[in-house]
């Protein structure tokens, strides 16, 4: 491309371009990370948070130091108070403020009409999401590094379990990463309702939980992370693994939302989710079978959130890799194509796998009840969408909102039931699968578990059938898409 020619006889002498400034970050770093760091380090939120943290921590140490010096015997106690204050401030910073910064990470891009411009570069949707997230996490890491000297100063006060407290700091950092992934992922979904719920509900909860629950029981967490018992070690590792999966899941959820529909993110997401579910269930069997089932259901709930809310439309080109791989994979493609229709079939697979795992591990009938109710809870919002909002473009928001409404309603009904002792209300609302949890507990004394299981299966199965009835016509169109893909060229 030629440079623009100046029409004047003597072109004006321009100062040289400050191009050396673009080498402030290595070429090896992700472009998104470079961009986000350049922007992020200039934002007021980060600068203010950083300075406030420093000022608060310096103040705490300045006050605690003289107290500890004047009362030699209570130095350890003063140190523990300092620890609590440091962790409280740190946790608020990394678990509330930093993740909340992610809530507009992608949401601001469509407003500025910049998503399209990024999609046209070599940045994949996944790299965009990862870049946004890693920028925030690296800023969180800067905060961690800034706090470390205070923790070491606190060591002077005595009574400190250095390794455990450093590990706790690391864990909070990892959980912060997962929460940041959650907010960054949610920000790509374009629902201001959900973002508002996260900001108001999530942050309010954490801002109450951290100073009034987490900080007073800091000693319990520190003991847990001293890895003195095998089950504690396993639980700690499990939390770490779950944080990694949650981070991946929400980033991939966001990537799916911003990617062109010709990019298939669903297959990988589903297969990884299934693998995590199976591995976590089997590993946690050693810890506690009930915990294993709970964790597996949480993973299944995450997968379902995506399965039932994906956009059902995708172009024929998505079929090509499946057609290329042969008839067996082609059959499997019915479960792995993008969209909630194939997602409904994959949900059947999840039920089958978890049921088989329960049989293999000789679980109790109660675990089957929990399984039936758990899957009912997951499928209920999807059935409601199918019945009342099948053409909605924002299935994710409706699904999540219904889930929150069910949770709130169940909490109210349970409270009323406990206060009044009347089962009628629970029976009236027993069409909501979540209500089956308190109801089954209530019935367990008077009714056989087999009957409770039957009731759970009938209710959950009905909702599943409603969803499948809506999914099959769309699944039937997959063949036409495959034909189209074949017609457009060699698979």
């Amino acid at each position: 491309m030629a440079e623009r020619k100046h029409s004047a006889a003597t072109p004006p002498t321009l100062p040289p371009l400050p191009l050396q400034r673009i080498n402030d970050f290595s070429d090896k770093l992700s472009p998104m990370l470079v961009k986000e760091l350049r922007q992020g380090l200039r934002t007021n939120t980060f600068v203010v948070l950083f300075l406030v943290l420093q000022a608060l921590l310096a103040l705490v140490l300045l006050i605690a130091g003289p107290i500890a010096a004047s009362e030699a015997g209570s130095a350890g106690a003063a140190g523990q108070v300092v620890s609590k204050i440091i962790f409280c401030i740190y946790a608020l910073g990394v678990l509330v403020v930093q993740p909340l910064r992610g809530i507009s990470a992608i949401a601001s891009e469509p407003k500025q009409n910049t998503t399209d411009l990024m999609v046209l570069t070599r940045l994949s949707a996944w790299r965009i999401m990862r870049g946004k997230w890693s920028s925030l996490v690296s800023q969180t890491a800067l905060i961690v590094l800034a706090i470390l000297p205070y923790l070491i100063l606190r060591y002077i006060f005595g009574g400190m379990q250095l390794f455990a407290e450093l590990t706790l700091m690391f864990y909070l950092f990892v959980i912060s990463g997962a929460l940041t992934a959650f907010t960054v992922g949610i920000s790509a979904l374009g629902s201001s309702l959900i973002r508002g719920l996260v900001v108001v509900g999530g942050s309010a909860y954490l801002m109450i939980y951290i100073p009034f629950s987490f900080t007073p029981s800091l000693g319990v967490f520190i003991d847990l992370l001293s890895f003195s018992r095998q089950d504690e070690t396993l639980a700690a590792l499990g939390i770490l693994a779950m944080a990694v999966y949650v981070s991946y899941f929400f980033l991939e959820l966001g990537a799916t939302a911003i990617a062109p529909t010709s990019e298939n993110h669903s297959t990988r997401k589903r297969l990884i989710g299934l693998a995590v579910l199976v591995v976590s269930f089997l590993l946690l069997q050693f810890l506690n079978p009930a915990t294993a089932l709970t964790v597996a259901l949480v993973v299944a709930a995450l997968i379902s959130l995506d399965l039932f809310t994906e956009n059902a439309e995708f172009p024929a080109i998505v079929c090509r890799p499946f057609l290329r791989a042969g008839p067996f994979v082609r059959l499997g493609s019915r479960l792995l194509y993008p969209g909630w229709a194939s997602g409904s079939l994959f949900f059947l697979l999840l039920i089958g796998v978890l049921t088989a795992l329960l049989f293999l591990t000789h679980s109790t009938i109660q675990s089957f009840i929990d399984l039936a109710v758990g899957f009912g809870i997951m499928v209920f919002p999807a059935a409601m969408i199918q019945l009342f909002a099948r053409h909605s473009r924002n299935r994710f928001t409706i699904y999540l909102t219904l889930m929150v409404v069910c949770a709130v309603l169940t909490a109210i009904l349970t409270t009323l039931h406990l206060a009044v002792g009347e089962k009628l209300l629970l029976w009236i609302f027993s069409f909501i699968p979540m209500v089956l949890f308190p109801l089954s507990e209530e019935l367990s004394s008077s009714t056989s578990q087999g009957s409770i299981l039957f009731l759970s299966l009938v209710i959950s199965g009905t909702y599943l059938l409603i969803v499948l009835a809506g999914a099959f016509p769309r699944i039937a169109k997959f063949s036409a898409l495959e034909e189209e893909s074949l017609a457009e060229g060699e698979p």
Partner: protein, 367 residues
Amino acid sequence: MSAAISVRNMFRYFGPLKAVDGVSFDIPHGSVCGFVGANGAGKTTTMRILATLDYPTMGSAEVCGFNVVNHPDKVRSLIGWMPDHFGNYEHMTVLEYLDFYARALGYKGEERRRRIEEVMNFADLGPLADRLSNKLSKGMTQRLCLGRVLIHDPQVLIMDEPAAGLDPRARVELKHLIRILAEEGKTIFISSHILSELGEMCDSLLFVNAGRIVHHGDAESLKLGSDATGGVYYDIQVDAKPESVSDWAILNPDIEIVESRKRGARIRIPTADPAQAAGLLSRMVRDGVRVVEFHREERNLEDAFIDILSQIEQDGMPASPPPLAQPQPGRDLSAPASAAPPPPFPPPPQAPPISPNPAVQHPDGGT
């Protein structure tokens, strides 16, 4: 030689709305093609499909021989997309903005520096290097956007209303830059509401209405009125009240008042026959209209556009002009677009797939 842009019988539905309705056209390599249509006519949708940001419900679109759906990555490396509206990032300078896109396009080290320097010099962005990119004027922003578009030196530029909202000076600057790019042999597909500017820049013009191509031809033929839908325009000035022309014209049904002017009117007569013009003048004089000036005017592109739309209202939607290139194998394109069969399946109810938020698609409300 194959076309730089080739669109065949392309449809795009948004629920029940036919945003693009069986469009076919070709744009040869190295040419500048203007895309003209009212708001909601389907310009932005067509351009977004070509830019791989959307996909057709049916039919095909190719850029330099690569299908936009099947080979989006290849197409993206060949095109530069300049949307009608875009924002800039906060807390980011012009230099950093270009650096981000250069990095995102895969340029490294000295090559990255060189590409940025080239586009900065071309778009005259040097003095703005340290300015925050979201604090620029509209004209500067468009130059920055053009700089971004050119970083990877694309062969085909797709520009959606690049001159919208620019002041006259910025518009002239932008036009100058586009002209240089055209001289360099780039294929430019550009939409604009300012038809006079397109006429100066473009080798050909595509008129679109209600998702269909209603005219594809060069600007000169439209101006001369040689097109089948055209008429001949005369400027009439009178030494009396200007209404005297329109009052007289009402009595002559073959004459259409196009525009009332300070000292008369601009009229249109259906044929270019000089004898008819002479007869018209003599009738006016005979009827007592005090004509002091009577001369033929070149038809401007706005007139041509309005004429074509009026013709459509009278005659119904015409068939899309036949494409220049051969149909794509595997697709039956022998029938003209208007005779194309309706899609065999109901239109998908979903929004465009690229950005999940429907508000993202067309910030100006255009389709």
